[in-house]
């Protein structure tokens, strides 16, 4: 490509096209088509200029300027000109890279990142750690592909445009409701926090199951069983507040939860310790604090490397530890 046009050059060209008398001559028509095709930024700049030009048509209501009251002192010419200078950068670039439409755009979170994504239809997605979705909004359907991980959706009501989440072959459909989907290898976990959703497995010869607020199920090839467990659903979604609900989980399970959210990995080095059950809520981003609390509670020993926190039983004598000899956790 030739050196990129500055935004100011685009603005000047757009203003010239905007003020031309319509309809355009066939030659101008062709030239405009070529100009627009040359750079995606031009179309937006032209729309803005044409919109301003069209809105200024109301100036007709002003009548001839000989009849206008003295207005020169209100805004001096100097002010108009200098503010133009300030605004030289205003028609700034939408670089080609920024031009990807929202349609089919993949949104992904990194380790430990939880993102709230407002969608163009008014729905909201809360995307958990290490997850990715692709949103495709069409007139007939709102389609979200859960590429990996877990997402909670608060769906804006619109019976004309069903909201469908696809996680592999698992499908979850809502009209106006709130629910989460976590993609697993063989299907997807579905938790409903508000309203009603319909869920099914693509290709399975079975009717869809209906889930209501507080229900959870697993959609896979086998028949789906629906459990009503509002508390479990609530705890499972504590991540939306940046928390892990321990709720009687084993230390081993909670450690693997932490490992979803943090680069620093927790390794439990003792099976009996790993089987201890924990309660309460902890911040997902604080594996250090969590490990320290565990050490306190179970009189365990915590050893750290740059990437890993090892939790094990206390040694009687502190000779050589194994921490340095074992490999780096995941």
């Amino acid at each position: 490509m030739t050196p990129p046009e500055t935004s100011e050059q685009i603005e000047v060209a757009a203003s010239l096209w905007a003020v031309k008398d319509r309809p355009l001559s066939p030659e101008d028509e062709a030239a405009l088509g070529t100009w627009l095709a040359g750079d995606p930024r031009r179309r937006g700049a032209l729309l803005r200029a044409q919109a301003a030009w069209s809105s200024l048509s109301r100036a007709k209501a002003l009548g001839p300027s000989t009849a206008w009251p003295a207005v020169r002192d209100a805004v001096s010419r100097r002010k108009v000109l200098t503010s133009g200078g300030i605004a030289a950068g205003l028609m700034a670039a939408c670089g080609a890279g920024l031009f990807v439409t929202l349609r089919g755009e993949e949104t992904a979170t990194r380790t430990g990142e939880i993102r709230r994504l407002p969608m163009s239809d008014g729905s909201i997605a809360a995307i958990n750690t290490q997850s990715a979705i692709r949103v495709a909004m069409t007139e007939k359907q709102r389609h979200v592909e859960l590429v990996k991980g877990e997402v909670w959706f608060k769906v804006a009501k619109n019976p004309e445009r069903p909201f469908v989440v696809a996680a592999g072959d698992a499908r979850v459909q809502a009209v106006g409701t709130a629910f989460s989907v976590r993609r697993r290898d063989n299907g997807a976990e579905v938790l409903v926090t508000e309203g009603t959703v319909k869920a099914w497995f693509n290709g399975a010869d079975r009717p869809a199951v209906i889930l209501k607020a507080g229900d959870r199920t697993f959609i896979g090839e086998a028949e789906a069983a629906v459990y009503h467990a509002p508390e479990v659903v609530d705890n499972a979604l504590a991540w939306r507040e940046g928390k892990i609900a321990l709720a009687g989980k084993t230390l081993a399970d909670v450690a693997s939860d932490y490992n979803r959210y943090n680069r620093t990995q927790i390794v439990i080095r003792d099976a009996a310790l790993g089987g201890e059950r924990l309660f309460g809520r902890f911040s997902t981003d604080d594996p250090e604090g969590f490990s320290n609390a565990v050490a306190q509670a179970f009189d365990a020993e915590v050893t750290r490397t740059d990437t890993t926190i090892y939790i094990g039983v206390k040694k009687i004598n502190d000779g050589s530890t194994e921490a340095e000899t074992s490999g780096i956790g995941q």
Binding site: Q50, S83, C94, R240
Partner: protein
């Protein structure tokens, strides 16, 4: 080929453009840099140019703000370093609470006066052409004949007038009373 169909251009002129200065102020409050803000606004117009119909848009202001908000999120996500703090800030900008204030509604009635001031402040030949074109509604050819100028010159003057007016509208500060719009959404996710 045009930027957009006629009815959309008119719709943007009447329903989107008047909110541009507010949108700019709103985005600035999310601690986004000036350049980022201008890029986002520009891209929002590009996005609107792709619409084939606007009938489904009940609140053009909210739509404009939402499109900009989505673009802002997209840009942050594409940045090599994800600024969680800005994500959080933008997240807290509540589109629905950003309704125009009553003062702003009244101000809309003074729009014509403002246009009059802006035209009056244009350089003289530019102003003359602009007036004949937009106030008297004369075709370009006719203006060229009356003023004894080439059509190209008339076109250039009109375009210059348009740019000057757009720029001063864009930089006019309308962000007063803006703090109330920055709603801390304490109750989210409850």
């Amino acid at each position: 080929m045009e930027s957009a169909p006629d009815h959309i251009i008119r719709w943007v002129g009447a329903n989107i453009l008047p909110h541009e200065a507010d949108l700019r102020a709103w985005l600035r409050r999310a601690r986004l840099g000036r350049e980022d803000v201008e890029d986002i606004i520009q891209e929002a117009y590009c996005k609107i140019a792709e619409l084939s119909t606007v009938e489904h848009i009940l609140s053009p202001r909210a739509y404009f703000f939402t499109v900009a908000k989505n673009i802002a999120f997209m840009r942050i996500r594409r940045a090599r370093i994800v600024r969680i703090d800005s994500v959080d800030e933008i997240d807290r900008l509540d589109v629905m609470s950003d309704a125009p204030s009553p003062e702003r509604e009244t101000a809309a009635r003074h729009e014509l006066k403002r246009v009059m001031r802006l035209i009056a402040a244009l350089p003289s030949r530019c102003r003359q052409v602009f007036e004949m074109r937009k106030v008297q509604g004369m075709p370009q050819k006719e203006i060229a004949r009356v003023l004894g100028l080439s059509e190209t010159t008339v076109e250039n003057e009109a375009a210059k007038g348009l740019r000057l007016i757009m720029r001063s509208m864009a930089s006019e500060d309308q962000g007063q009373g803006s703090q109330k719009e920055l709603k801390r959404d304490a109750a989210r996710n409850q």
